[in-house]
């Protein structure tokens, strides 16, 4: 295998996993920028989206309509958790909101186990999703899942960019993220802005959940935990609270993971992939808390 082909193959892998991280991290960052809330239940919106897609398929819907249902259900779940869990503690100290989100993720995961049992279920995919593309005598391969992951992520991010820059609610989101008090004072309907933010973030998580389940081939109630943790790392190394930061962080983290795994085996580093990633997180928190993009960390008194 020539070096170039090897690098290309790894690049495809990096883009595929990185775009998933970016998709999840963007949702975390949107919510954090508005509420200073680290929404751990964000990973569970992936689970909700994937399970809803599964059951919609079992009920007889085709794959794509079922995915549509899954995204809608996860967006709705986002609205519900905002209303039921987060709005009552809005304005409370950051720690209260953080603990609320940790409690919520336990409740949702255990609810998932209660309803669906903890054993993984097969995630049915149409044949075309697994269609394999092979180049250079099979030395570079990828399938439609990889292509779709990258394509859907890029579309979602383009949509988000348009929404935030060009719509009135998007303008409200940027204003509320900058200064929530001033947003109240100019008469912005902050509740509406926050609900829309949860709809967007949770719909993105739903999309990511379907793509994650497609890559893994299974769904399970705790499937959101690992991607959430990785997206959290991605959001921080990119610059927490910033949408471009989350995107950059997602792709950087994806590339880094693939790089660690593709290092020569006799270096013995690849088993420590996750340990290295979290060491990086600690290093960023210590030495560059603003992340790669240097996001200003405001302390509000």
């Amino acid at each position: 295998m020539s070096d170039l082909e090897y690098v290309l193959q790894q690049l495809i892998n990096a883009l595929s996993i990185g775009s998933l991280y970016a998709l999840v991290a963007v949702g975390l960052s949107i919510i954090f920028s508005l509420l200073r809330l680290t929404n751990f239940a964000h990973g569970d919106m992936m689970m909700v989206g994937a399970f809803a897609t599964l059951f919609a398929q079992l009920a007889g819907l085709g794959f794509l309509p079922a995915v549509g249902v899954g995204i809608l259900v996860s967006a709705l779940a986002g609205v519900i958790i905002e209303r039921v869990a987060y709005r009552p503690v809005r304005g409370a100290p950051d720690v209260t909101m953080l603990l609320t989100s940790v409690a919520l993720t336990y409740i949702l995961e255990n609810l998932g186990i209660l309803l669906f049992s903890s054993s993984p279920r097969n995630f049915p995919l149409p044949d075309w999703m697994n269609h394999l593309y092979s180049f250079a005598d099979g030395r570079i391969t990828f399938n439609n899942i990889n292509l779709l992951t990258l394509g859907v992520t890029l579309l979602a991010l383009l949509f988000l960019n348009w929404f935030v820059r060009r719509t009135q609610v998007g303008l409200g989101m940027r204003a509320a993220a900058e200064d929530l008090t001033a947003a109240h004072l100019v008469g912005l309907d902050v509740n509406r802005v926050i609900v829309v933010a949860f709809v967007l973030a949770s719909a993105f998580a739903g999309v990511a959940g379907v793509l994650w389940a497609a890559q893994a081939g299974v769904v399970e109630p705790q499937m959101g935990f690992t991607p959430l943790l990785k997206a959290f790392v991605a959001a921080i190394i990119g610059g927490f609270g910033s949408i471009p930061g989350a995107i950059v962080g997602g792709f950087v983290l994806g590339a880094l993971e693939v790089l660690i795994q593709s290092l020569p085996g006799d270096w013995g580093l690849s088993p420590y992939r996750d340990a290295l990633v979290f060491a990086l997180l600690i290093a960023f928190l210590l030495f560059r808390p603003g992340g790669i993009l240097g996001v200003r960390q405001e302390v509000k008194l």
């Binding site: 303008l171 940027r174 204003a175 900058e178 008090t181 109240h184 004072l185 100019v186 008469g187």
Partner: protein
Amino acid sequence: MKALELQGLEVAYGAVRALKGVSLEVYPGEVVTLLGANGAGKSTTLRAISGLVRPRAGSISFMGEPLTRLSPVQIVRRGIAHCPEGRRVFAGLSVHENLLLGASGRRDRGIGEDIQRMFGLFPILLERRNQAAGTLSGGEQQMLALARALMSRPKLLLLDEPSLGLAPLVVRSIFGTLKALKAAGTTILLVEQNVNLALELADRAYVLRTGQVALEGQAKELQGDERVARAYLGGAA
């Protein structure tokens, strides 16, 4: 009818009582100034009027209707605009976007026209319309904050320290604008550290001391009144 009436307003932050029964009134077309030392409760009074803090006791009514249970958004829609201390412009957003946000509570078609009117009032903002608000000078930011507040077409304008941190020349120009607003019939409740400027502009004044009204009267009569200075220094008024 009174535009604004506070009766026995009490506000506490935890155990700290910031307002201990403040009563005041503002009539339509009047400019009333709220004076007092740091921590006397001036900003808290404005924050209570615009719904940012909930009073513990007392009442606030605007045009004869109670405000105490309304959210900040509803209060803006009733016609009260609050131009906060420290300006609080949206630094990362453009001047034009800041003005648009000032009209958040409005659904009518006159918003574009009003933006042009603000550019007429503050020509420098037209020059900077696509610049991020954070790159403006302090005086320009104050003009933007004022214009943003006016974008809601308020019946009552709450102004918190519009001269804070600005050069004397800039302060003169801001107060020139306020004078023009007053001449146009705008009702204003002004909190200001610069006592002379405030009394020059206002019709009436209240002096707050440790959360209570220590002194009130016609602005002209209070100019040069040594009781005003004493209220600042904490002596008996």
